[in-house]
């Protein structure tokens, strides 16, 4: 078994490299899109109960639909390939980013904002100097959740021709090859763990003040 896996790695190393790169590429792209949409929406949601209901409701509904179902449903609209895969992953990833961003902005104590205003900051200066840095820890926690979910779920992208490590697993399933299944599974797990660790390192740098 281990010999089979080693053999597969040595004969398919170029292909594995492409698949890992594709997996990371799709994941990162979906994450970036989710952040670009989720963070502003989360900020808007934090403004009032009404705006929160307005923004979160559609994503909450979409999140209930399983990713695989979203993928299949997107085929008639977007065809196959990377585009529907990234779309489905983004839908999956937006809620944790959005909700945590909203909670992050709400968690800033009123007195902090008031003292910032009282010493003479404009609303715009407060946004960049006080509110965003204050919301950042929660925001990053949400992005981390999204990242780990995306890396695991990108596996499904192969189902509709999106590429990535899912190709090994789905091919392994088709050929009933345990070595491919184990290798694919291990690689996805390792990538998922690694992405979490890398993200934690970045977080620690961004939030250095918390660790002194």
């Amino acid at each position: 078994m281990i010999a089979d896996i080693a053999n597969y790695i040595s004969t398919h190393s170029a292909q594995l490299g492409t698949q890992i790169t594709a997996h990371i590429g799709i994941s990162l792209f979906a994450l970036i899109v989710a952040v670009v949409i989720g963070v502003p929406c989360g900020y808007f949601a934090s403004k009032s109960a009404k705006s929160e209901a307005l923004v979160t409701a559609p994503f909450e509904i979409l999140r209930v639909v399983p990713s695989l179902a979203v993928l299949i449903l997107l085929i008639p609209i977007m065809g196959t390939g990377v585009k529907p895969a990234v779309t489905a992953l983004t839908i999956l990833a937006i809620p944790p980013v959005l909700l945590n961003t909203s909670v992050g902005f709400r968690s800033i104590p009123e007195f902090m904002v008031e003292s910032a205003r009282g010493i003479g900051m404009t609303e715009r200066e407060m946004l960049f100097k006080v509110r965003i840095p204050g919301a950042l820890p929660m925001m990053l926690a949400g992005i981390r959740t999204a990242l780990v979910e995306i890396v695991a779920s990108t596996t499904l992208a192969a189902k509709i021709g999106g590429g990535g490590l899912g190709e090994i697993i789905f091919t392994g399933l088709g050929l009933n090859r345990t070595d491919m299944l184990v290798l694919g599974g291990l690689l996805v797990a390792a990538l998922s763990l690694l992405s979490g660790v890398v993200f934690d390192v970045i977080t620690r740098r961004l939030l250095r003040y918390k660790y002194v």
Partner: protein
């Protein structure tokens, strides 16, 4: 010349039938240390926040340094009035130096000038610059944080300081030290200070004149001695009596 004038200032909050600040008129001279005394909900904090336009009055006007503040940009006004609150509100993600110089950095002071100003202020509030300038707020005690709050409020060298129960959450011994330091700072810099407190001992110790407030109204505004000798009404008298009773308790205990 009076540096702050309140003329029939009124403030009512939405949904409340009573005035938070009820027709308050007073004049404050330059260099005075004014304490505003009253129990919670009496309007003392509201009066302070009307002074730097965190609130705007429903009626009446407030004149600061000869100008009706209604006509002044709130941000510009606030940068001329130092402001400190009980919870301090230091920014957790900034070092002590960055906290002190946050407004100067927005005003694009050069780095050297900011460094010098931060060190100067740290010394003024009794903290060793080399030890404290690069720390973060959560590494400081409550009393030290309040000193930084004071330094931050002093950074643009305002002539007037508004302090809202700055020592309210600080233990008795540290509070005594901070009170004495504040009196020393005020004595050496000649600032005009408005200091809100609910502690009658603090109010009478710190203020050269005391504003006694209840239910939005300014009941008496006079020197501590005059207030003790001639309380304006039953409420002021009861306030003084309660302080006296406390004192008796200490004498009895010894």
């Amino acid at each position: 010349m009076s540096v702050i004038q309140y003329e029939n200032v009124c403030k009512k909050f939405a949904g409340s039938s009573k005035y938070a600040v009820d027709h308050v008129s007073a004049e404050i001279e330059s260099g005075e240390f004014i304490t505003i005394l009253g129990s919670s909900g009496c309007g003392k904090t509201t009066l302070l926040k009307l002074t730097n336009r965190l609130y705007d009055p429903d009626d009446g006007k407030i004149i600061v340094e000869g100008v009706d503040i209604k006509t002044v940009d709130p941000v510009e006004l606030r940068r001329r009035l130092g402001y400190v609150i009980q919870q301090v509100g230091l920014f957790p993600h900034m070092t002590i130096k960055e906290n002190i110089t946050v407004i100067p950095s927005l005003m694009k002071w050069d780095k050297r000038r900011m460094d010098e100003r931060a060190d100067e202020l740290l010394k003024l509030v009794g903290l060793e610059p080399a030890e404290f300038r690069d720390r973060y707020p959560h590494q400081l005690s409550g009393g030290q944080q309040q000193r930084i709050g004071l330094a931050r409020a002093l950074v643009l060298d305002p002539d007037i300081m508004l302090l809202d129960e700055p020592f309210g959450a600080i233990d008795a011994i540290t509070r005594l030290n901070l009170q004495n330091e504040l009196l020393r700072i005020q004595g050496s810099l000649g600032k005009t200070i408005l200091f809100v407190t609910h502690d009658i001992n603090e109010a009478f110790k710190m203020g050269n004149r005391v504003m006694v407030m209840n239910e939005g109204r300014l009941l008496q505004f006079d020197t501590p001695r005059e207030i003790v000798q001639n309380p304006a009404d039953a409420f002021v008298k009861s306030l003084i009596d309660s302080a006296r009773t406390q004192e008796k308790f200490w004498e009895g205990a010894l």
